[in-house]
């Protein structure tokens, strides 16, 4: 199957009671979403994102054009068995509690009782609702219902996940979890269609995006391609002395117009700081009646079987590495909660916190070091010249500038030069 989702000339016109055309919600939309892709659909309110999703799910019928999902017409029962859908609001039964809700949706997929229980336990842990799983959803906050909505979308271990405004109404923890999950699922070979008007969310997780306006596709492409400033270069490093900065400026000035050189001390993002504080509170077992930070992605969410190409193998290895971190992290967290804290344990606890927060994939260049511990960094934009692309698909680096810096630093501080991998780690 070449495309998981494909539309051609998809048009949806809303007519009034008398059949008069009132609104063209989607206008001749062509979409081609490949397997294992995390695809973002962006657009302002009323741009046709949700309408497109509803057509893809068979909840609306196209006025013109056609759509195929997993090779079938939208709404086919067999196709639906492979889809997970999180609507723009979690439309769930308020009289059921979280566990009953997941049992209900599990039954719709024909899952056996044992399998349902296993998946539900895992999903409730994942979305951090295990402690409130017996409360009716009618008593949940909006963010908590979004979490259980997400869990129901994953109960069938879907091949295609369709998320409509997934982070709407979620607190920063939930937002981060959803983004982590989408990234993780993408790395496991799932196809994700994510629709949002929150640009940062889409930017953080999507491989490709399209931007809709007035029901029409205005732009489409890989996030890297659309967002890269190909006429600038950004260099990051550890703390530098003023002299070193001056020398760098001199070197850059010799290469390009020094008016464009800026040196800044970066700061951490509020999101990271917030998550750090909450994680500490959770480790300290502060009581809460709300949701807590969930565990890692549920084990039952399988990898796509078709992924045999090289890129997928690399992704598999990356995910495997992360799973090891997550599993060791969980074990360490339990230790922290049950024993007195020594220095070594304190160090392990710090690692735990970092691991709980750190999940940024290697392939995303934008704000790529946002998960690193807060430290001073030097940012030096330069003119594009002699640029080389990093292996990890990250930002373009001026080789000559790096060489100069390394040579100069060696001479001054007698320290070994940083290799590529250390750079990768810092960015990852």
């Amino acid at each position: 199957m070449e495309y998981v989702i494909q539309t051609e000339g998809l048009t949806k016109i809303f007519r009034d009671f008398w059949g008069n055309q009132r609104v063209v919600a989607v206008d001749k939309l062509d979409l081609e979403i490949r397997p294992h892709e995390v695809y973002g659909m962006l657009g302002p309110n009323g741009s046709g994102k949700s309408t497109t999703i509803k057509v893809l799910l068979g909840l609306l019928f196209p006025t013109r054009g056609w759509a195929k999902v997993l090779g079938q017409a939208p709404g086919e029962v067999k196709t639906n068995a492979r889809i997970g859908y999180l609507p723009e609001e979690s439309y769930l039964y308020p009289f059921l509690n979280a566990r009953e809700t997941l049992h209900f949706y599990g039954r719709l997929f024909g899952l056996s009782t044992a399998e349902r229980k296993r998946r539900i336990d895992s999903l409730l842990d994942m979305v951090g609702l295990n402690s409130v799983a017996r409360r009716p959803l009618g008593e949940y906050s909006k963010g908590m219902t979004r979490r259980i909505g997400l869990a129901q979308a994953l109960i069938n271990d879907p091949d295609l996940l369709i998320l409509d405004e997934p982070t709407s109404g979620l607190d920063p923890i939930g937002t981060r979890q959803i983004k982590d999950l989408v990234r993780e699922l993408g790395q496991r070979g799932k196809t994700v269609l994510m629709c949002s008007h929150l640009l940062a969310d889409v930017e953080d997780v999507c491989d490709r995006i399209c931007i809709l306006y007035g029901g029409k596709k205005q732009a489409e492409g890989a996030v890297d391609e659309l967002l890269v400033h190909s006429d600038m270069t950004q260099i990051r490093s550890g703390r530098l002395t003023d002299q070193a900065i001056d020398k760098i400026k001199e070197i850059i000035a010799s290469e390009c117009d020094d008016q464009q050189v800026s040196v800044e001390v970066p700061r951490d993002r509020l999101e990271n700081y917030f998550l750090q504080v909450v994680a500490q509170a959770q480790i300290a077992q502060v009581e809460t009646s709300g949701a807590i930070m969930g565990t890692g992605v549920s084990d039952f969410l399988s990898r796509a079987e078709e992924s045999a190409d090289e890129s997928t193998v690399v992704l598999e290895q990356l995910v495997k590495g992360r799973e090891e971190i997550v599993s060791s992290t969980t074990a360490e967290r339990e230790d922290v909660a049950t024993t007195s804290v020594s220095d070594q344990e304190q160090a392990a606890r710090d690692d735990t916190l970092a691991a709980l927060i750190e999940v940024k994939p290697q392939s995303l260049p934008s704000s790529s070091n946002e998960f690193a511990p807060a430290q001073e960094q030097t940012t030096v934009p330069v003119e594009p010249n002699n640029l080389v692309e990093q292996k990890d698909g990250g930002s373009l680096v001026d080789r000559s500038v790096i060489d100069s810096l390394v040579t100069d630093t060696d001479k001054r501080e007698k320290k070994p030069p940083k290799d590529d991998s250390s750079t990768d780690n810092q960015e990852g």
């Binding site: 009323g46 067999k78 009953e100």
Partner: protein, 461 residues
């Protein structure tokens, strides 16, 4: 099948959590036991009449309350799923729309089974309790056993075919009229047609009345056939009658004299029944030993209008005036079939409610379903009125519409069991075929097609 069961189960959980079941049980217990028990205790009258009233009241109340409940729940469950968009997360799972509807119907069936079952047990228990506590004499106990806790079949007397007689009279009258104004009637054939219809109607009524009317000092012979009592050796068959009179007799009572036998008593002699002075316009019943029925199932009954009635002409109205009842089964089977027929009605209403809720908003769907339901309840009266009063065109149009409607009055078992009459398997079968399979099936098909091809979401831009 799992998704169907899951949806059904979810509906039942919803109803339980909404406390509907609790409210229903409290209402039923209150109305049956507290209110009616108290009313019965304070009411003086025949024990069997009390039990008849109890059965009629409680079963009708149960059937109507559950009917309304079914209409509301069946519409709410689907209309609310659509309005609150919970249906988005169901129909995007591997659940076809037909399975979604089947799940809802299954849920309603189980729910009604529970509610109706509970009510049925309660009503049966209370009725049997009344049977033990209310009669004060052996005669009352016998009456209760023979008139209430029994399943009796009814036969009407054989009446001569009057069609030819009516037509001859009508044609003679029409010819005479045309002869009086030949030009007028030649140019107005519709008037002739209407005149003929009116004459047929009037003369039919007149001749039937004449056949069922007894002048003072005269007798009338009734012939019942096809009587097949359960026990041909012992027990009774029952004559049930009601009388209209010309002129008001003293204290509105007349003396009734009966002679009966397996052959025409006027020719072969028969058994006299002790004359009784009984109120007119009231339904009366008296037993006849089953041995008076011939082995072929015939019974002849002669009624004599006594000269003591002082010139009062007595008429036995059509339908309720004269019938014979005989035992064909027990109360338990009859009660079960009664509950079954109520259950079939609830099944029909479930289908109607779901079909309406599948394409209308909740208030509109409720209005629609209630109109259908109430027209169905009164369909018998409407059809009779049309038959008696309306012209041919009105009759054909309105009659067709009424025939399409569910005829709940035709398939209402309560009047049968209340009078100790059998709710026959044939009636249950007809209810199943006409009400459920044909009419319910058509409504279900229409509802499914609309639901299958409608957009469940709305375009919001």
């Amino acid at each position: 099948m799992r998704p169907v069961i899951a949806i059904a189960r979810n509906l039942i959980v919803e109803i339980f959590r909404m406390r509907v079941l609790l409210a229903f049980i409290i209402l039923i217990i209150t109305s049956y036991t507290v209110f009616f028990w108290w009313w019965l205790a304070g009411n003086e009258g025949l024990a069997d009449e009390k039990v008849k009233t109890f059965l009629s009241y409680s079963l009708s109340l149960c059937a109507h309350v559950l009917s309304f409940l079914t209409i509301f729940i069946s519409i709410a469950t689907i209309a609310r799923d659509i309005k609150r968009k919970e249906i988005f997360t169901i129909t995007t799972k591997p659940v076809s729309r037909i399975r979604y509807l089947l799940g809802k119907i299954l849920g309603l069936l189980v729910l009604n089974l529970v509610l109706l079952g509970l009510s049925g047990f309660l009503i049966y228990g209370l009725a049997r309790s009344l049977q033990r506590t209310e009669p004060t004499t052996a005669a009352e106990r016998n009456r209760m056993r023979e008139l209430v806790f029994v399943a009796r079949k009814s036969v009407q007397p054989v009446m001569p075919d009057i069609t030819q007689q009516v037509l001859e009279i009508v044609e003679a009258r029409v010819k005479r009229k045309i002869k009086e104004q030949p030009e007028y009637y030649r140019h107005n054939p519709v008037v002739v047609k209407q005149m003929r219809e009116t004459l047929i109607k009037d003369n039919t009524k007149r001749i039937i009345n004449a056949q069922r009317t007894v002048e003072p000092g005269k007798s009338i012979l009734w012939h019942f056939t096809g009587i097949e009592p359960l026990d041909r050796e012992k027990g009774y068959v029952f004559i049930r009658f009601q009388q209209e009179v010309s002129g008001e007799p003293p204290d509105a009572k007349v003396i009734n004299q009966w002679l009966l036998g397996p052959r025409n008593p006027l020719e072969h002699g028969g058994r006299y029944v002790e004359p009784q002075r009984e109120a007119v316009r009231t339904v009366h019943e008296f037993p006849i030993p089953v041995t008076e029925v011939s082995p072929e199932g015939d019974l002849f009954v002669v009624y004599n209008n006594s000269t003591s009635n002082r010139g009062t002409t007595i008429t036995f109205p059509l339908k309720t005036g004269m019938e014979l009842l005989y035992v064909v089964g027990g109360f338990e089977g009859n009660f079960f079939r009664t509950i079954l027929m109520i259950y079939l009605r609830l099944l029909f209403l479930s289908v109607l409610g779901l079909a309406a809720g599948a394409w209308m908003s909740f208030p509109v769907a409720v209005l629609f379903a209630l109109v259908i339901f109430i027209m169905g309840l009164t369909s018998g009266f409407l059809i009779d009125a049309l038959r008696m009063e309306a012209g041919e065109i009105q009759r054909s149009i309105a009659g067709t519409v009424l025939q399409i409607l569910p005829q709940f009055s035709t398939y209402d078992p309560v009047p049968h069991i209340e009078k100790g009459r059998v709710v026959s398997s044939e009636l249950v079968r007809q209810c199943l075929i006409f009400l459920i399979l044909i009419k319910g099936g058509l409504i279900a098909l229409a509802g499914y097609l609309i639901f299958r091809f409608r957009e469940l979401a709305r375009v919001i831009v």
